[in-house]
């Protein structure tokens, strides 16, 4: 059974965000509870880079606070790889400070066929996880 249930519209929104920011990396958070995503938070990439992302600290505070107030967790964290595959890079592994979150990566390497995959990154170990696409 999939660990995380997510509506297609959130997958579509991650791809749309990635395309909008390209060639820079985009980033954001998927808040929710009980394995169900309830809100997508687009965030500003403070690095403004093609190869790095770091959510703007003030935005991160507000997103974190809104999730806490709703009893949600950061079920997912997403970012894009504008020119590379949808697999965690060494940088992604080195900076994975949210072991409870699923890291979504949107690859735009094949512009016509964006790819979205999700991984748990814990103690330097990468595990791909199946996600369940659900209806609203």
């Amino acid at each position: 059974m999939a660990m995380l249930a997510i509506e297609q519209r959130y997958i579509d929104e991650m791809i749309a965000h990635a395309r909008q920011e390209a060639p820079l990396e985009c980033c954001g958070v998927l808040g929710g509870r009980d394995g169900r995503v309830l809100k997508l938070f687009r965030a500003t990439n403070a690095e403004r880079s093609r190869y790095r992302y770091n959510i703007d600290s003030q935005e991160l505070f507000r997103i974190n606070r809104e999730c806490e107030e709703n009893g949600w967790q950061f079920l997912g964290i997403y970012h894009s790889h504008p020119d590379s595959e949808a697999y965690p890079s060494p940088t992604d592994v080195g900076l994975a400070f949210w072991p409870e979150s699923l890291y979504f990566i949107v690859s735009l390497r094949d512009a016509g066929n964006p790819e979205v995959r999700a991984f748990r990154i814990r103690d330097g170990e990468i595990t791909e996880e199946e996600i369940e696409i659900v209806r609203r």
Binding site: N54, L60, F61, A96
Partner: protein, 94 residues
């Protein structure tokens, strides 16, 4: 000065699963030292070898990133809230 410190999930092993703890200190630096006394190992997760706040750890006082306040010497007053939130960061294949 007693302040409330919000602890992120990733650091709750150190605080015996508490998501908020109390600490004393007239500045952020004193607060972190007080936390280290109560919860050994916490300071190392917040500060690097030179004693500065780690690049990929965000510390806020009443919701304001301390990088935009006075960093470790940011003064604290009774009832202030200190929040620790790890960075959400990474990158692609360069």
């Amino acid at each position: 000065m007693s302040v409330t410190v919000r602890i992120p999930t990733a650091l709750r092993k150190i605080t015996a699963d508490q998501d908020r703890v109390s600490a004393d200190g007239g500045s952020l630096s004193e607060c972190i030292d007080a936390l280290e006394t109560s919860y050994p190992g916490l300071k190392e997760r917040l500060c690097d070898e030179s004693g500065e706040i780690r690049r990929f750890v965000n510390v806020y006082v009443n919701g304001e990133d301390v990088r935009f306040l006075q960093g470790l010497v940011t003064p604290l007053k009774d009832g202030d809230e200190v929040s620790i939130v790890p960075a959400v960061a990474g990158g692609g294949w360069a």
